[in-house]
């Protein structure tokens, strides 16, 4: 089962490697990991996309909670939440493809944020599946480069992760 784990962690050097090290040492899966400071610069928020059985997920959250730098852990996917991922994709945009790329970007509500004579960089935000569909919808030969941030998510409504 796919799970999104959100972590509030002390913003200290080495904190990321403690989390990453825990996952590799115990054989847990990381599909994506994103981290940045929060509005309180002493805290970072980390989002990890992982998968595993209920037992494995229980261990993941318990082991994360055990890390001394970790302040709070929540499995976002346990309840209502929204999730987004950002992708920047550089595509070849020449001849008839140039117009086609623009159209595709519009259909997926992407934005073209860099233009040269032969390339576009398209910015696309959404659920990971939407980004996957966008990639699938393009001619693979036209994709020059992709970069994705990995999933970040937040609970809906009153579900708040805060110290």
């Amino acid at each position: 089962m796919r799970h999104i784990i959100s972590i509030l962690i002390e913003n200290e050097s080495g904190a990321l490697s403690r989390v990453a090290g825990l996952f590799s040492a115990r054989g847990y899966n990381i599909e994506s990991l994103t981290v940045a400071p929060t509005e309180d610069p002493s805290l970072s928020r980390m989002t990890i996309l992982t998968s595993g059985s209920d037992e494995v997920l229980e261990q993941i959250t318990k082991q994360l909670n055990k890390l001394v730098d970790v302040v709070k852990v929540v499995d976002l996917s346990e309840a209502a939440h929204v999730e987004r991922e950002l992708m920047l994709i550089k595509v070849r945009a020449t001849g008839k493809d140039r117009e086609e790329m623009k159209r595709m970007a519009d259909i997926f509500r992407g934005r073209i944020i860099d233009v040269t004579e032969s390339t576009y960089v398209i910015e696309l935000t959404g659920a990971s599946t939407k980004l996957d569909s966008f990639i699938a919808g393009l001619d693979a030969g036209l994709i020059l480069e992709t970069v994705r941030t990995g999933v970040c998510g937040i609970g809906r409504g009153d579900r708040i992760l805060k110290v």
């Binding site: 490697s17 090290g21 302040v71």
Partner: protein, 565 residues
């Protein structure tokens, strides 16, 4: 204003640390200079940093205090890794202070530089790199706090040399608050009530306890509870001494080399009360086989991640063991009655006991079990026993009956050969008057044998019980049983003359080759040579094996027993 080095020493004094085990080097010279100028904190100079950490570890294991080691950067640190990992696996509180190259050299591949925080990260409870002298005192305070609270463990503090030279005001905080670290202490009362109810309904109960009982000093509470329940008690290797081994209710150690009665009782129990134990692979054998019996499990542990990790638990209780046991005892005051069918369970257990699974064959040679039995007699069961890892460790666990906690000092989780002798040093620093015997083998003892020199310097009168079969016994046993007697690399040839070796270090050496000489030699060692380190080289039966044995991948009840006698 005082220097960073002086701050380090002042912090140790504030923490009432009476000794540190260490080895000097370039990055810690300022600290050693500060150490020189005072006499509250004693320093034990080991011969290898690994031994410093093992000794600090045993200091903790054998007392209720936190052991401290002090080493230099680079190789000083890498040499400590085995010791830190050993302490981590057994949840031993310990603080390791490491020198580091000066701040501006970090990352430059400087002389004796290594990424201490990176190298030790997977085997510490937490670690710190001090980047500012203003953070030094509070970091050391945090280190002691984290090491000793919650599920204990080793904490490393990496201190760059320039920090130890800088001047700063010294202000040691009395208490500390960390928003990210608040271990649970009190167990959930509702869960405790459920547990008591379940114990009342149990027909085939067992109390299964581990190192958590020792570490939390809960042996008295546990004994009180067990007596009140009149249920059988088994201990893990790490839990020995948590319940008096000579008591009628004690069914012995369980697990890979557990007794017939303990393993059967554990497997067929309908209610297991697990206390400070973690159902590890050496304890329950094959988890599928263990899961084949229907039973209910109550699990008390301070670490939530130990609960339902390997065995599904019905009543989890996260909390400090003695506090939870206390609550249970209180609840039981109000008309608690055990099920009358428990009497039948005891009959069954006595039948299993009748199998006498620890009986061993006689031989013209010295049997290792016999040596441990005699050691128990000669020391009146009062000694602190340190051990290394292998057959001798299992013999010690099976035949020395520990009635008190913190007397059995061994590496259970990591299984580190070579700990025995430095463990003896740590025990003696924490318990200067204690009788200490290190039960070892000719393989293990050579892994830290240089510490005989340290023992000479500080007069540690450890009695080394070397069960010498000229082979790596446990490896040999597995090769005999599972590899068609292909004894690949399990012979230790070119052994030193241990008697001469002991004498070369300035100690007493004895070689004992006949069964009838065992007891007199032990008596002599503990009376005439009471104040000496005595290296007792027992030449034992090379074919002796440890039984019962649950082979890897087998179930707890599928024991191989000693040949019929």
């Amino acid at each position: 204003m005082i220097s960073g080095a002086e701050i380090v020493i002042r912090c140790l004094q504030e923490e009432k640390v009476d000794c540190v085990f260490g080895y000097p080097g370039g990055s810690v010279l300022h600290i050693y200079d500060a150490l020189f100028k005072q006499d509250e904190v004693k320093h034990i100079l080991v011969r290898h940093e690994q031994a410093a950490v093992h000794a600090a570890d045993a200091y903790s294991r054998s007392s209720q205090r936190v052991g401290v080691a002090l080493v230099t950067s680079g190789p000083g640190v890498t040499n400590t890794v085995t010791g830190i990992a050993t302490a981590y696996m057994d949840s031993i509180p310990m603080v390791v202070l490491c020198g580091q190259v000066p701040t501006q050299y970090i990352g430059q591949d400087a002389f004796q530089e290594c990424d201490t925080v990176g190298i030790t990260r997977p085997c510490v409870k937490h670690n710190f790199l001090v980047k500012d002298v203003k953070d030094l005192a509070i970091t050391i305070k945090k280190a002691f706090h984290i090491a000793a609270t919650g599920r204990p463990g080793p904490v490393v503090v990496d201190i760059p040399k320039d920090i130890t030279a800088q001047m700063c005001e010294f202000d040691y905080p009395k208490t500390i608050q960390m928003r990210s670290y608040n271990p649970v202490v009190k167990g959930h009362l509702g869960q405790i009530k459920k547990a008591v109810q379940m114990l009342q309904e149990a027909k085939r109960p067992i109390i299964y306890t581990g190192g958590g009982v020792i570490l939390s000093d809960a042996a008295d509470k546990l004994t009180q509870l067990a007596r009140k329940l009149d249920f059988p008690v088994t201990n893990t290797l790490m839990g020995l001494g948590g319940y008096p081994a000579t008591d009628r209710q004690f069914v012995g150690m369980l697990g890979m080399h557990g007794t017939f009665e303990a393993n059967n009782a554990m497997h067929y129990a309908d209610v297991i009360l697990a206390v400070g134990a973690r159902f590890d692979d050496r304890v329950i054998g094959n988890p599928e086989h263990f899961g084949s019996e229907k039973r209910r499990v109550i699990h008390i542990d301070i670490d939530p991640s130990s609960i339902s990790k390997r065995v599904k638990v019905d009543v989890p209780i996260v909390g400090n063991v003695p506090d939870v046991l206390d609550e249970m005892l209180k609840l039981m005051d109000g008309g608690f009655r055990t099920d009358p069918e428990v009497a039948d369970w005891w009959k069954q257990i006595d039948e299993w006991r009748g199998r006498k699974s620890l009986a061993y064959r006689q031989s013209e040679h010295i049997m290792p079990q016999f040596v441990v039995e005699k050691l128990y007699e000669v020391t009146g069961g009062e000694a602190f026993i340190t051990s290394d890892v292998g057959q001798h460790q299992m013999f010690a666990a099976q035949y020395y009956k520990f009635d008190k906690p913190r007397r059995w000092i061994n590496s259970g989780g990591l299984g580190t050969m070579g700990v025995g002798l430095p463990y003896g040093m740590g025990v003696l620093m924490a318990n200067p008057e204690a009788q200490v015997a290190c039960i070892t083998g000719e393989g293990s003892i050579q892994m830290c044998i240089q510490e005989m020199s340290t023992c000479k310097q500080y007069g540690f009168p450890i009695k080394i019980i070397n069960l010498n079969n000229g082979m790596l016994g446990m490896v040999r046993q597995w090769q005999e049983m599972f590899y068609s007697k292909r004894y690949s690399q399990s012979y230790v040839t070119s052994l030193p003359d241990f008697v001469k070796l002991a004498e070369a270090y300035g100690h007493v050496g004895m070689k004992i080759e006949k069964p009838e000489d065992v007891e007199p030699a032990l008596r002599k060692a503990f009376t005439e040579h009471k104040d000496d380190l005595v290296f007792m080289d027992f030449i034992i039966d090379p074919g002796a094996n440890v039984f019962p044995m649950v082979a890897a991948g087998k179930g707890l009840t599928e024991m191989i027993l000693a040949e019929e006698l």
